[in-house]
Amino acid sequence: MQKFLRASIIEVHPEVGIGYPADSISRTLLETMALMATSATDVMIHAQDLGIAFEDNAPVLQQLNLEVQTNEFVALLGSSGCGKSTLLRMIAGLATPTEGTLTVQYPEDESAQQSEQGFVFQDPTLLPWRTVEDNIRLPLELRGASREDQREAVQRSLELIGLAATDGTKYPRMLSGGMRMRVSLARALVMQPRLLLLDEPFAALDDIMRQQLNEDLLQIWQQHPCTALFVTHNVAEAVFLSQRVMVMSHHPGTIVETIEIPFSYPRSPELRSDPEFARMVGEVATCLRNTVS
């Protein structure tokens, strides 16, 4: 029964990444229901009672529930060690849940050049022996795209990210931290992903650079709508960027509260001086503080 369900699910939704917990028919049924639920509405990511533990240690995530709509910008906020990066990795397919279900459903209108997801790491993770251009085209290269397609996509990405064509031939070693992060972003976007996962990408940069990059990111997101999941421990950043902030607690990690951010897009830098913004930051900050105490 389980196998049949699994097979049918894969057949219907080729791009779905599903986490399989330990065998249990009830879980499989839950899964099927979740899947049917997601296809009915516009929910892209659905997690129910999600949990993960590594080896014999205490669970890192437990009883986690979340829902993310297509093309939504969501922030995952939590203090260090609450498992937000792990959650992101699970959604990316790099880690498997040990409990509960996790479904990620991609819309079907994909061109050959689109990929499901782009990931931006905390560290730019650029290949130091490749130029900026060669780094950006890596995802296409690994999928066997033609040289022509690669070049086009790289150009597009460079423009999108605000890098000059001359920067393309530089090596990562020659770039500042901010520039490297832009390149990392450009790489994540090169295949026009449906889902953009960002794991504290700007944490290592100074405040001015971080704010600038936040603004640029929003601009890009508006030009090329996709679902964005942004992990951070910076409250102001979470509020500025997202439509919803999901606050995570510690040990074990779970989402304790979801706060709606009512500001409309496009959001300008002036928003930061808005008293309403400060109030929201305060509200979210309080919530976050409560999770730690």
Partner: protein, 263 residues
């Protein structure tokens, strides 16, 4: 842009001065204490024998260099290939690595006669001995280079659904290049030692001899001046190989390792 002399000067001059001081001290010590020539030669005597025997010395150095370079290149190829195999399978690595270490620690004077037995006297045996001595650093360093890739980079490839082969070719191998260069530098010096020691056991024809033969010859005649000249030649050969490998390494790595941060 400083004049080349101003750039090279500070680097070259101190060792040269030191060398001159040592030379002077050496001469004085031997001269004043009247140390016999079968113990220590005078610097002047060494210089003289270098001039007298320049033909033999250069020919011997050339022959040893041939063996050292051949052995070194084989070591690099075999070592890199072995490291590939090690990097792909933990089981293989665990099974064979101890034997690679064993190969390194068994004294060459014990292995060499065995090598001669199997491969006969001559150039091929000298090369085999050279390989045995210079192989291990390449294996270790390249294995580390292939297996120590950052988690982030590996995740990146995994998420882009890279095949095992793609990961090896586009990620692990370029990552391992600096490690290969480091290993090769160590290996190059060892290769010279190997070529000389190999010659002690594997032989020489009357007209095709190397520095190893000269070492034996000069010791037999108690001619320390020639012995010193031979030793200096071997050291120079080692330095040259090391410099060459370093230069090649620099060419491979310069752009992305040594470039200055600009933006």
């Amino acid at each position: 842009m400083k004049h080349w002399f101003q750039q090279i000067g500070p680097i070259m001059i101190p060792p040269v001065i030191f060398f001159a001081v040592v030379l002077l001290a050496w001469h004085l010590v031997v001269d004043i204490n009247e140390i016999e020539s079968f113990l220590v030669p005078l610097p002047g005597e060494v210089w003289q024998v270098v001039q007298e025997k320049s033909v033999e010395l250069s020919r011997a150095t050339w022959n040893t260099a041939l063996a050292a370079v051949s052995g070194f290149m084989l070591s690099v190829v075999i070592g890199t290939f072995t490291a590939f195999v090690f990097s792909q399978s933990i089981l293989v690595r665990r099974s064979l690595y101890p034997y690679a270490i064993f190969l390194q620690t068994v004294p060459i004077v014990a292995i060499a006669p065995l090598v001669i037995n199997w491969f006969g006297n001559g150039f091929q045996s000298i090369v085999v001995v050279t390989v045995v001595i210079s192989l291990f650093p390449v294996i270790t360093s390249v294995t580390v280079g292939l297996t120590s890739v950052d988690r982030g980079l590996r995740d990146l490839f995994e998420m882009n659904r890279a095949s095992r082969w793609q990961t090896l070719l586009k990620l692990r191998m370029p990552h391992a290049v600096p490690y290969l260069v480091t290993g090769a530098r160590t290996s190059s010096g060892l290769a010279v030692v190997g070529a000389i020691v190999g010659e002690f056991f594997a032989g020489y024809a009357s007209d095709h001899y190397g520095l190893g033969y000269l070492v034996l010859q000069s010791s037999g005649q108690l001619r320390t001046d020639l012995l010193f000249a031979t030793i200096i030649s071997s050291a120079l050969l080692g330095v040259m190989m090391f410099a060459l490998v370093t230069w090649v390494g620099y060419q491979l790595l310069a752009r992305w390792t040594y470039a200055q941060e600009q933006a």
